[in-house]
Subunit: 558 residues, 2 copies
């Protein structure tokens, strides 16, 4: 992806070096490093979820190469909020050095601690809140409240000898949020007055015109749908969306219904949120799933995961009749969630499956049951105009989002050369209010597959895609070590190519003839014979089927 | 997919049997058969494009099983319009019986004839137009103009001894279409007055509230974008969308620009449309692509295919620098097209790639450059109220679309038991104005892969998905025929599993030990030994990697 890779120079004392490691050119695996005077601060350390051209991959991590040899210099990781794309890679980082301090708000730390517990890691943590200032080596940190689709999100100002930075994390500008904790524009104004040299700003919705509606707008819709529902209601959303669940609890309560939480992550996260006071559970509204069967159908709401069509989540299992809950005629299912690009087919399969079972399916497409967690263009302009940063670095987005965000910065008065388009691995040096690109690191995708990290390579994925498209044909021939003559075979096996192995009857004599010819001409080392078989089968399959399966010839000498 | 498969009874004389073969439960491969008194009429014969869980599949055909033994009874195939999902499977049908007559409008027949030419088939055709009546055996046909995203689309009324049917094909209700050829509600009203017993009606947009905007609304937007474009303009859309291309020609002409068509299907279809008078080319506006390089950048528009991110189409090749046209800063690219679900990631990759090249990308998400070709809910209500059909069969849609359409029918006054939800293979008998479900055929997906039709099975696709997710490990052992002792091996090869074969060093002794034990216990037929290897490697890979690659053990006796 990076066009021109070049190494940055040694970092002069007093200069702040900013390197986005992930999140620029993709929605996910957000991570940025800040370095000055030999010390490194990290902001966020998230995962990216794979697309369909990355089959079998469980997670994608940021490439830790730039910090692998600098672990002892890391003063801490600021986690702006508790979403997977900001905290999900922390366990993998801590496996490199377990005592790196994690800095974040109460809920953020509670979420990462629960995750680390599964990895059997107890982290060093520093809990902070908005308004708080902390010094970590050469970094003076100041935390600012921001509103997002998870409570307790923070922006972080980083003041150093080299200059001052503000990083928004993910945010939006809901002016009437459920918890009344708005993105603190007064603090942004003050920080702007003090001078922000570089502004790292969430680009996710920069190409969406206007303003994200308030989360509050969803409540009445949920209440109305639940009020009209004749039987059971199942609501699916993200398992970390505390305020969405809050609205479900409130809407259920207003309708005299009880709520059972479904799905391991939903139960775990909401237990944490309730314990810490972020989720206010109306008296007696929650009921254990095991006891929910005793409640009449018109008195229960199930709150579940699986709104993105994830095959192993509750909703998919319900559709496939692999869950204790059987949805049927008269039941209502609400997908109170976004539709993340790439998940459309999976989600529509869920909607079709539920419709076929007789359920009334309410979703973003036919009712106002979701709002985004990110600032749209109109909101971003407010922020630019209040902060008036010297330089802007759009972060968190595909390239088109970064470009759209940079355009907004320019429209608000930031000089075009100070609205910086960078990508993962771009090295930026800040000094005296000026930002210079000084390097471009060659960072890759690090794939987690099963328990392996970084072992699956791009070449493996290319092989997997070939196998997926066309299957493979393997041809085994045992030949005499000295003469190259066939002892046994060719045995031909195929997977994903044809049901019936008899299709290979016509190629067997061709292989025998080709090998005999090769043996006669004296070229019978196994590599040469392998190539003979590959060529023979390749030509035959192309001519006979116009297909290109992977051909796996194996010559065994005996 | 079908819940309860059961065979229909023999068809009584004078009863009309209607069987949707494809298009109910999917967007594509539309095909319905009508049978009475021993004769069969087919309406449409289209293809379905595969989703990501059908890797390597080129096309999906309707399952011709119900008509395979009845070929001589087919009186003709009515093609409602020239889109692939309505005509694309005709070549495969004609390969079964080449002289089945094709009935359709001028443009529709021209498109199918061009396609059949590539298959070296010259079809028997009967060209019809709106208002025309034709008798084909026991079927009295009457054709009605409908408006769609391709010119010259027709609905067809089928009057028989068993009852009267109206099939809309695909349609919408643009009241000011570019060619002034509206969906003929006066004819619908007259047919309704005469009595329509069963109404087969397009469901694609039944869950979209309101009305589809007029195609005409796009023209001024295109004109405006082209007027502001400082350099070259590339516009991508569907290669059969004559009216969209018309608007591009007009907008370019109004701006003093010339237009070069790119892509084989675009050139072929527009040549046909212009020859037949459906596309009105302003004098001198078209220029051959080869000569377009001589035109100044601000005087040219390229009209191309590839708006869905198809990897081999012009737009993808431009993004990957595999096309003569190099897009750069200042260029404008317009995706004047829908975003078909499932294509999101591919299309966004195109948008990101173009943005990175410096182009200004205009698409449905940021400008009004596309309208749908299908009637939304508001339009469907007009049709129901004008036609007042006795029974309704929603067609063309995923299950949720069919349900949404049936609801609209009921809202308009059709009794709920006469708004019929069916799926591919449901057999419906019509007599005396009543429709009865009398059977459910077990119809499958027929996959085209390369030059093979129907050879790839669901089992092959399952294998392909496994291979895609996890790759495979093959283990070859040559054993002594009589003792079962290892002669050579185990040789282990893997694809899509790990870059480095040394990961297998630790399992080799386990395989040897397991085989030795099996040989000692006397169980050394190849099948038993194969299972021993499979089990040994399977356990090892699960314990060591928590992954489940396909394991392909091969025991060769020598």
């Amino acid at each position: 992806m990076p066009n021109d890779v070049y190494a940055p120079p040694a970092l002069p004392k007093g200069t702040l070096r900013v390197t986005p490691i992930g999140g620029l050119g993709e929605i996910g695996r957000n991570m940025t490093t800040f370095e000055i005077n030999g010390k490194i601060l990290i902001v966020d350390c998230g995962v990216l979820f794979p697309e369909e051209h990355q089959p079998g991959v469980d997670l994608i991590l940021p490439d830790f190469t730039p910090i692998k040899d600098r672990l002892k210099d890391i003063v801490g990781v600021v986690l702006t909020h508790g979403h997977e794309d900001h905290i999900g890679a922390v366990p993998y980082l801590l496996k490199l050095r377990q005592d790196i301090p994690l800095i974040g708000s109460g809920l953020t730390l509670a979420f990462i601690e629960a995750k680390l517990k599964e990895h059997r890691i107890t982290p060093y943590t520093l809990q902070v809140k908005e308004g708080q200032k902390e010094r970590l080596g050469p970094f003076n940190l100041e935390f600012v409240a921001v509103n997002h689709s998870i409570p307790d999100a923070l922006a972080v100002a980083i003041k150093t000898e080299g200059g001052s930075v503000l990083h928004t994390g993910d945010f939006k500008m809901d002016q009437l949020p459920l918890d009344n904790r708005i993105t603190d524009l007064r603090d942004f104004a003050r920080l702007g007055e003090e001078g922000i040299d570089l502004f790292l700003v969430d680009s996710t919705n920069a190409d969406v015109p206007g303003f994200t509606p308030s989360e509050r707008a969803i409540g009445p819709v949920l209440e109305d749908v639940i009020a009209r529902a004749p039987r059971r209601v199942v609501i699916a959303s993200f398992s970390s969306h505390v305020h969405r669940v809050q609205q479900v609890l409130d809407a259920a309560h207003a309708n005299g219904r009880r709520v059972a939480l479904l799905g391991r992550s939903m139960v775990r996260n909401m237990t944490i949120a309730a314990d810490l006071g972020y989720l206010k559970v109306p008296d007696g509204v929650l009921i254990d799933f095991k006891k929910a069967g005793n409640i009449p159908d018109n008195k229960i709401v199930y709150m579940s995961t699986g709104s993105q069509g994830e095959p192993m989540a509750v909703l998919s299992r319900i559709v496939n009749s692999e869950h204790q809950i059987e949805v049927g005629p008269g039941d209502t299912v609400i997908l109170a969630s976004s539709l993340i690009p790439g998940n459309e087919n999976a989600v529509y399969r869920i909607i079709d499956g539920l419709t076929k079972l007789g359920a009334n399916v309410v979703h973003k497409g036919n009712a106002k049951v979701h709002v985004s967690g990110h600032a749209a263009a109109g909101e971003l302009l407010y922020v630019y105009n209040v902060l008036r940063p010297k330089n802007v670095l759009p972060v968190h987005g595909e390239y088109r989002h970064l470009v759209a965000n940079a355009k907004l910065a320019v429209q608000s008065g930031v000089p075009v050369e100070r609205a910086i388009l960078a990508e993962d691995g771009t090295v930026l040096d800040l000094r005296n209010g000026d930002v210079k690109k000084v390097g471009q690191l060659d960072l890759g995708y690090v794939y987690v597959d099963g328990s392996t990290v970084g072992e699956i390579t791009e070449a493996d994925l290319t092989d997997r895609r070939t196998l997926a498209e066309e299957g493979f044909i393997s041809i085994i021939v045992v030949v005499d070590k000295s003469t190259g003559k066939i002892i046994t075979g060719p045995e031909i096996h195929a997977k994903g190519f044809a049901e019936d192995d008899s299709v290979f009857d016509s190629v067997r004599p061709k292989i025998e003839a080709a090998l005999a010819e090769a043996a006669q001409s004296g070229s019978h080392d196994t590599y040469a014979l392998t190539q003979v078989v590959r060529r023979t089968v390749g030509r035959w399959v192309q001519a006979s089927f116009r297909r290109r399966p992977m051909i796996v010839p194996m010559i065994i000498e005996a």
